[in-house]
Symmetry: C2
Subunit: 481 residues, 2 copies
């Protein structure tokens, strides 16, 4: 990444996080150049980008300002979930969403499905069908229950990018990250235990907690940097928490990356209370920034972190290839993986291993990161334009989903139902809570179909919301009459 | 199946079950013809087959006799497991077996892996390759969590052959039968519950019981017709059993088919005690007899049977395509399947659905049943010839594994270790008990490689056993000196 776009990113983030008010003057070009040790032209280039994004205004002779008009995209505030362990509910809603996959939908923004038509995926597709043609029997026998060795070798390379030093024998292949999470939960808990989770958090993990008869303790979570360490510490003091489950690097649904210092602090807390961390890194390689941030696992000096991931977001979910680096829980994890679904199909594993070895993976994710980042910027602006005043939007640092917080009076479940009839699907916020909070929130995918179609879908959602607003405003008046 | 081979089967079974002693005269040709309503020549033909198998001797003018020489293959007796619920142990041994898959082994008799080089599988392999080539995106997206609809439709046809009347919505696709069993166990129990199982029984199910923190109550099981209904009733009276898990149609490891009346009695017992039955039907289509016997599920008037199966034995395990007909537990099963590993890969499902629709499946299993049956007969005779006197062998009614009970003083774990060094692998009996019984037993696959190689492997095992015997006899003498 060039210096100017790095600087632009930093400034953009500060503006979006609300470090400056509307109309505020921004630091001068000279000031920034000194502060960051870069050239004047680098700073000018960075400001030029932000100007294009309508995030800053250049005023002749005066410098750069945050615009007066409320073009600024504001982020949601720290979440305030109930401060006690609760049973996870809402399975029916999750199931309905999983099943609502009408092929003829105009634009599907509800699934966390990556874009899969890039040419950079072609070599993988080809390799898979050629393996099916030339080595079918390898796909037909029972393979290694820990997964194909060549893939585990390549995974030691991939995970090295996040600071991990792993041997192939320290990895277990799973049917996607969902199985990884489910197996890890079972490896470190027993029925009735309490698990600390982010709030909002991924519904698949919430449902795995439910199925394992565990209780979720939702920890207040900051949309810009993740689970509150202070709140987590309070919770650890108050409750017998048995494990912490986090998605710290490109969170689903909010897209933040937990800063390194905070990751370290979280790890130290787990050490102090002697509990394991289940780290979901499924979007880790999809961070726009390069090199990617370190995982919590990279600080894991006493093998208490169970790193879970898959190729579902970086390549394609249908391959169902995920993995666990289970640390000290390896034997238990291997056992549970075996009883859970026995071995995983071999050929997709070999195809992916080849794809990584031949450089195809790195190339593909480089292309996708750029594409997703552009789509994020576009989508943020569009939502800001078409959604009601007072809408807050998360600012994803990677991946292809974002989190929208509508003003209190809106109901995203209603929006979802209405949108469905117009061929647009969204993921209502309450799926991301153990107990149905976040009714005024939604998660949107921003990589389905083309920019044009997505813009159309966002306009449709905006229209529905505008209409809803009117109804909401009318109702009370009627009652008064 | 022709009349004479049906009759030969019945006679063979009676002889093997020990209805006649060595040297006994068998019923006359005329007597049998009357009894079974068949022609004289049919009976003669049946006896001719048994003569070839050295199971009967024709004595001129006197009729047919069981030979004096102990050529008769004797079956193991009713098992006598401990009569109390126990924690399942022996995971390390199972893992070692799963991992001992040296590619260069001369003959692998330890895995329950079907033969997969039949030409009748070619259309399936081709279809899978073509789907991967021409419709890769269907393999790359998240599919239906309940499984591909076209496959579920075809499964309603297949399961109809065992007497089930199912709608596609009453089926959930899983990653093999292992996931099916694991999901069903979780759907009907909670930690600490007791499950009644066969003894010996499939180690994957035993380990699933262990992983779900359940206790196994091994019920005495008859090698010729399955779990003892009387013993089960006693156990139900004595313990709060929460579910019965059985493999009644071609049991693994013993190969028996539980007779219809006994299946009904088992079902009625489950009704009386109001508990579910998890029925593992994975080998159900591999019964040599045609049409195949009914499943317990076919009697399921109140939806308490969870039928589990997969294509791992009929087609190939590497596809990892299994299913559940979960009856009244459908919603819970769907939930647990989702959290367990999310959806299953789509293309193998479509390929198998097409294969069934186009008649490929029926044709394939017809061919395999014949092949396995011939291999069984060969292998039974070889084991009887080369294994020590006093060896008991199960008489599989289908599939491709059998159970051997060596005289008490033999140790199958030792045999397994020694055989491994000679490139032959076997499954030691203790894996099939919750607690390491059956040390003098082993399970053998009889479809790996060619007849010649298998014969070689059985001779190797026989030699090792002969040698072991000598050692065993020597040792006590030494001690006495
Ligand atoms: C944070 C997170 N973890 C896990 C998963 C499950 O991934 P997979 O499809 O690999 O099972 C998802 C998928 O949506 C996810 O977003
Ligand atoms: C009786 C029985 N049930 C279940 C399984 C597991 O089957 P799958 O490979 O389809 O998971 C096996 C495999 O050996 C088996 O023998």
């Amino acid at each position: 990444m060039t210096l100017y776009s790095q600087l632009a990113d930093r400034l953009r983030e500060h503006i979006k996080l609300g470090f400056f008010n509307n109309g505020d003057k921004l630091p001068s070009v000279r000031q920034l150049a000194n502060e960051h040790g870069v050239s004047i032209s680098t700073v000018q280039e960075a400001y030029r980008i932000l100007e294009m994004e309508q995030l800053v205004e250049a005023r002749p002779k005066s410098g750069y300002f945050v615009p007066q008009k409320n073009h600024v995209i504001r982020m949601p505030k720290l979440s305030r979930p109930p401060q006690r362990p609760l049973d996870v509910s809402l399975w029916e809603d999750v199931l309905n969403m999983l099943l609502s996959r009408e092929k003829d939908a105009f634009c599907q923004l509800q699934h966390a499905m990556p874009a899969m038509h890039s040419n950079t995926l072609k070599p993988l597709i080809k390799s898979l069908y050629e393996l099916n043609k030339h080595r079918p029997y390898e796909g037909m026998t029972y393979g290694d229950v820990r997964g194909d060795y060549s893939l585990r070798e390549q995974l030691t390379r991939l995970t090295a990018a996040s600071g991990c030093v792993l041997h192939p024998d320290e990895l277990v292949i799973t049917s996607g990250c969902q199985e990884a999470l489910s197996v890890c939960l079972k490896a470190v808990t027993k029925g009735g235990d309490i698990i600390a989770v982010e709030s909002p958090g991924f519904y698949g993990a919430m449902q795995a907690i439910k199925a394992a008869d565990l209780k979720a303790l939702e920890i207040p979570t900051d949309p810009s940097n993740g689970m509150s360490i202070e709140a987590l510490k309070l919770a650890l003091d108050q409750w017998p928490i048995k494990a912490i489950l986090v998605t710290p690097t490109v969170n689903n649904p909010m897209g933040y990356v937990m800063p390194e210092e905070k990751k370290k602090a979280l790890y130290q807390l787990a050490q102090a209370y002697d509990i394991p961390i289940i780290e979901d890194d499924i979007y880790g390689d999809m961070v726009y920034e390069f090199p990617r941030p370190k995982s919590i696992k990279s600080y894991d000096e006493d093998d208490r972190v169970l790193l879970c991931s898959s190729f579902s977001k970086s390549l394609a979910p249908g391959f169902r290839v995920g993995w666990i680096a289970p640390g000290r829980y390896r034997d238990k994890v291997t056992h549970i993986k075996y009883v859970n679904s026995s071995m995983c199909p071999t050929l997709p594993q070999i195809a992916i291993a080849n794809f990584i070895r031949q450089g195809g993976y790195d190339k593909h994710i480089r292309v996708m990161r750029k594409q997703y980042k552009d789509a994020r910027d576009e989508t943020l602006k569009e939502i800001n334009t078409y959604f009601p005043k007072g809408t807050l939007i998360s600012f994803p640092a990677g991946g292809f989903v974002l989190w929208v917080e509508l003003p209190e009076q809106y109901d995203a479940v209603k929006l979802s139902e209405q949108a469905q009839t117009k061929g647009v699907s969204i993921a209502p916020g309450q799926l991301f809570s153990a107990t149905g909070k976040y009714r005024n929130c939604l998660r949107l995918n921003f990589c389905d179909r083309t920019s044009e179609i997505r813009l159309e879908a966002i306009k449709i959602l905006g229209n529905l919301l505008a209409h809803m607003q009117i109804q909401e405003e009318k109702k009370p008046r009627k009652r008064i009459q």
